[in-house]
């Protein structure tokens, strides 16, 4: 094949494969209830919506490209022609099915999306099979070289790869640390981190060397047998990477996700080997491993030989930069390291001298050294802390350490949590959530105006009432002086998906999105309806799903895309609706969940001219300043209309946010102090202000609805321990209990749970997705510090989580399973 034709072939194959992988990735992500509900449905990223909308059209181009590539096979001998015809027919069927049924454009959560993912990976596997019928002759030979030479090259490649990858990522880590305050990562800390990363990477690369060397020797008589074994191992590697990186990140479990993982592995190895076989020139490979890696290049000048090494460093930097731009639970970062490691191994093998012969003793000593270091290097609490900090900056160490070291969690417990979180395959009937047994309307003069303002992702430490160092929220500070500031407020769910329904219900809920119809569980709406409230609401996709078609709701922000729900704009609309309000008329309830601070707008957001927020996430702070100004103006207008004293105003958020702490952004899969703490400021109507309140006791956003009940004069009672309590007038015993009881939180979208004890001063977090658990304690200054997880804390808090999960399951009549 000429150089030009070969280039066209490779380009076409990459385009074909790229489209299939993108489609499969999209379908796999859509299969996750969490990703579908939180990203795809509200179109958090416009390009994702564009991709699905245009997919059916672009698929025809893909088909044309595929057909063009099959030309040679269609002209070949009958068996190959038949296979090519079958592939062409299958691909055409896939595209027609996609076009006539809008398959990709209408993907939703569930296993059907995974079936679609697999069906778009199948053509790549079939193409790979065709490539192998052409290249099979190459594999019919026997090994033609002394195995010791292969050992030597592989050994050198493994060693060089480990040292080089460790060094490159150590340099990147040092660059990342440039302006960071990390007292533990001075020279000594960095040396410990580098040493540990090197040991881990040596273990991984030398294991790879041993595996390949053993496989090559075990099947020394047959290249085909070597090839099949290596092929299978690579498929397993990529399938595992898919499961760990994509599946775990979006909460995919079960047989369909395993099938998708295997299909992903098969497709990657098929494309890789297909391209390699096509490019193979001249004599056959000496060893099967050379089909994957290529043969060492003899007679190349040293400078040219070193160029790919420089390219690997640039690749590592570029992938790290991409991960820094946007990542999800370190998926991009980890995938980037995997790509760099594989590329490095290929580069190092091809750069190795063709006749490298290494003595047995050298191999034994070098292979044993990291094993000895791994076993003998005990890590004390101080060094553990240094390594935890180093993980934040060194992506290769993060991945290698996760692979090599036993995670501190409890696998059986994690399995249990995964099986009992994010229920999708269980039909659950709604239960009645009632704070008052026989709810009847109250007299009209006891119905305050109710404003429930939820600012998605608002953190308390960006507000003056919670952080005296903040100086850009004066209006909220003034409002707080006239209100109750709950200083110890948490969300029971670290994500909108469950935290918003929990606010409406005033109760913790089964870990399912969603138990519908929600009306029986919607304690707040029951109160509003029976008291004849005008309900002004922004109908984001969650509220719309919970409420269903409801003609009584007056929609705010009508026609505005969900991601454009802006606090200031919505407040303006509410103000205009207030014009029609007259005392004695239908009372008003207004609710919005503003997305002004959503992560998609913050990462690359800008700040106003002349604004400066040292030590803070500036685009986020700038938007908080704007929210403060609009909110202040709204309160002023309520005062001018004499409505302020007869209003119940709740300013809160559905969850907090990670704003780059430890390299983490967002919230959905993390439970950290930054994610679970929320602001909760409640302005009570005048007639409630004498009620006893304990503002320092731990409270939850599930306490908002019972507080609304109390503001109308009801006596809300929790009938189980999952229901909230009014922050005012609930009686001392309620808050005494709260202060001393353990409280359980959960991430909305995955098996990550937390237990708060000592009135919210200690948090134990168990992350079943990443197999880790952590403990944080809050000092008198409000700062959280990570502490060692003792066996006692783990045992006690895992009991608490099991009790919580089991009890919720009993309440909803679901059999906990795993």
């Amino acid at each position: 094949m000429s150089g030009r034709r070969r280039f066209s072939f490779v380009a076409a194959r990459i385009a074909i494969a790229g489209f299939c992988w993108l489609t499969a990735l999209y379908a796999s992500v859509a299969a996750s209830p969490f990703a579908y509900q939180q990203f795809i449905r509200p179109r958090v990223f416009n390009w994702v919506g564009t991709f699905s909308a245009w997919h059916a059209t672009v698929a025809w181009l893909w088909l044309a490209l595929l057909m063009g590539g099959l030309g040679r096979d269609l002209r070949a001998s009958p068996p190959r022609r038949a296979a090519a015809l079958a592939l062409a027919a299958g691909a055409a069927g896939l595209v027609i099915w996609n076009a006539t049924h809008s398959v990709v454009a209408t993907l939703a959560d569930g296993d059907r999306s995974l079936v679609v993912a697999v069906s778009w990976l199948a053509p790549l596997v079939a193409l790979g099979a065709l490539d192998h019928t052409r290249g099979a002759a190459l594999l019919r030979a026997r090994a033609t070289e002394d195995p010791a030479l292969l050992d030597g090259r592989m050994f050198i490649a493994a060693l060089v790869s480990a040292v080089y990858v460790a060094t490159v990522y150590a340099v990147l880590a040092s660059i990342g640390l440039w302006n960071a305050f990390e007292p533990d990562l001075m020279t000594g800390g960095l040396a410990i981190g580098f040493g540990r990363a090197l040991v881990d990477l040596l273990l991984i690369f030398l294991s790879a060397f041993l595996v390949v060397a053993l496989v090559s020797r075990a099947a020394v008589r047959s290249l085909a047998a070597q090839y099949v074994a290596l092929w299978g191992m690579l498929v397993a590697l990529f399938a595992s990477a898919f499961t760990v990186l994509v599946g775990a990140a979006v909460g995919l479990h079960g047989p369909a996700s395993k099938a998708a993982a295997v299909a992903a592995g098969l497709s990657i190895v098929s494309v890789w080997t297909g391209l390699r076989l096509e490019r193979w020139d001249g004599a056959g490979p000496r060893w099967a491993v050379e089909v994957f890696l290529g043969a060492p290049r003899a007679g190349v000048p040293t400078a040219v030989r070193l160029l790919p090494f420089a390219a690997v460093a640039v690749l590592a930097w570029a992938l790290a930069a991409a991960a820094n731009l946007y990542d999800w639970d370190f998926v991009v970062s980890k995938a980037g390291v995997l790509v760099v490691c594989l590329t490095m191994f290929v580069v190092a093998y091809r750069a190795a001298s063709g006749d490298a012969r290494i003595g047995e003793r050298t191999i034994a000593i070098v292979c044993a050294a990291p094993v000895v270091a791994h076993v003998a290097w005990g890590v004390g609490p101080e060094q553990q802390h240094v390594l935890e900090r180093y993980r934040v900056y060194n992506a290769a160490f993060r991945l290698a350490d996760d692979l090599v070291r036993a995670a501190p969690g409890s696998p059986a417990f994690e399995r249990y949590l995964k099986a009992n979180s994010g229920f999708t395959d269980v039909d659950v009937a709604p239960i009645d959530i009632d704070f008052v047994p026989h709810l009847a309307p109250v007299p009209a003069d006891r119905t305050p105006l109710i404003f429930l303002f939820v600012i998605d992702s608002l953190r308390p430490d960006y507000l003056e009432p919670y952080n005296p160092a903040i100086r850009f929220t004066p209006r909220i500070a003034r409002f707080a002086n006239e209100s109750v500031v709950l200083r110890n407020a948490f969300t029971p769910y670290g994500g909108t998906g469950l935290s918003m329904p929990a606010i409406w219900a005033g109760s913790l809920l089964l870990h399912k999105q969603y138990v519908t119809p929600f009306a029986r569980m919607n304690a707040l709406d029951k109160l509003l309806q029976i008291n004849g409230y005008r309900r002004l609401m922004s109908l984001d996709h969650i509220t719309a799903e919970l409420f269903g078609p409801d003609e009584g709701v007056e929609e705010l922000d009508r026609g505005r895309p969900e991601m454009e729900l802006d606090f200031c704009t919505t407040l303006g609309e509410i103000e205009s609706k207030l014009d029609g309000y007259r005392p004695g008329g239908a009372p008003i309830f207004a609710q919005t969940r503003s997305l002004t601070l959503h992560m998609s707008k913050i990462r690359n957001g800008s700040v106003g001219e002349g604004e400066s927020y040292p030590g803070l996430q500036a685009p986020y702070a700038s938007r908080v300043r704007r929210i403060d100004s609009c909110f202040g103006a709204f309160v002023d207008r309520l005062k001018r209309r004499n409505l302020y004293d007869r209003s119940l105003i709740v300013l809160t958020s559905d969850h907090g946010e990670m704003l780059g702490e430890d390299g983490r952004w967002g919230h959905s899969y993390y439970l950290t102090p930054e994610v679970v703490q929320v602001p909760l400021i409640v302005h009570l109507p005048a007639w409630m202000r004498s009620s006893a309140i304990d503002p320092a006791a731990i409270v939850f956003s599930t306490d908002i609805t019972p507080t609304v009940y109390a503001s109308l004069g009801y006596d809300p009672r929790a009938v189980n321990r999952f229901m909230g309590s009014s922050i005012a007038g609930s009686g001392q015993e309620v808050w005494r209990g709260r202060r001393r009881e353990a409280q359980v939180f959960a991430a909305s979208y995955g098996a990550v749970y937390a237990v708060a004890r000592r009135n919210g001063r200690r948090l134990y977090i168990t992350d079943a997705i990443n197999g880790r658990d952590t403990v944080y304690e809050r000092g008198a200054d409000g700062r959280w510090t990570e502490k060692p997880v003792t066996a006692g804390i783990r045992m006690a808090d895992q009991i608490e989580i099991r009790r919580h999960v089991d009890e919720l399951a009993r309440l909803y009549r679901v059999t906990p399973h795993f």
């Binding site: 030398l206 060397a213 000592r758 009135n759 006690a796």
Partner: protein
Amino acid sequence: MKRPALLVFLFVMVLAALVGPRVGRTGGATLDPVAPRARDVETTLEAGRFSDALPLALDLARAYPREPLVRYWLARIYRGLSRFDDEARAWEAFVEMSPAPQLACPSLAEAYDRLGQHERALLDLERCTRHEPESPARFIDLAEAAERAGRYDRALLAYRRAASLDPDDPWVAERLSRLAERGAPAP
């Protein structure tokens, strides 16, 4: 040594180093708390079916005599069955073998109280404050018990410690001022 044998040896070594700690973490004679038999005990107990849970838990206790979780379940089952002497014994065994002895607080003291052994209950609450010296709740438990027993000086000290750990707790502040009114001695 021939090279293939060397490679196999090295491979096994690396494998042992990587997999060993994971196997060690999951294996052994400790009870898997989410294994079916354990789940049966826990879910039956949590459902309040104490009579049904007891034989299941006793079975497990025979199979895992050093497993603290089983003692914890037994103690709670005995409490549900109002067998306070058995409850106290189960808690004592739990405290002796558990990494989380604080889970017996204040249940063990309550069991002694029910058995009329008030001084022993107080001693156990003292022990609880040592298990969790940073927990205001443990000091409040002790203070309340001491107050009930008329040991106001002891109660005052415990309330003060609780107040220092959680200065915002209005209930502790109230108890402190009431005790001061009673004329409890200054520390």
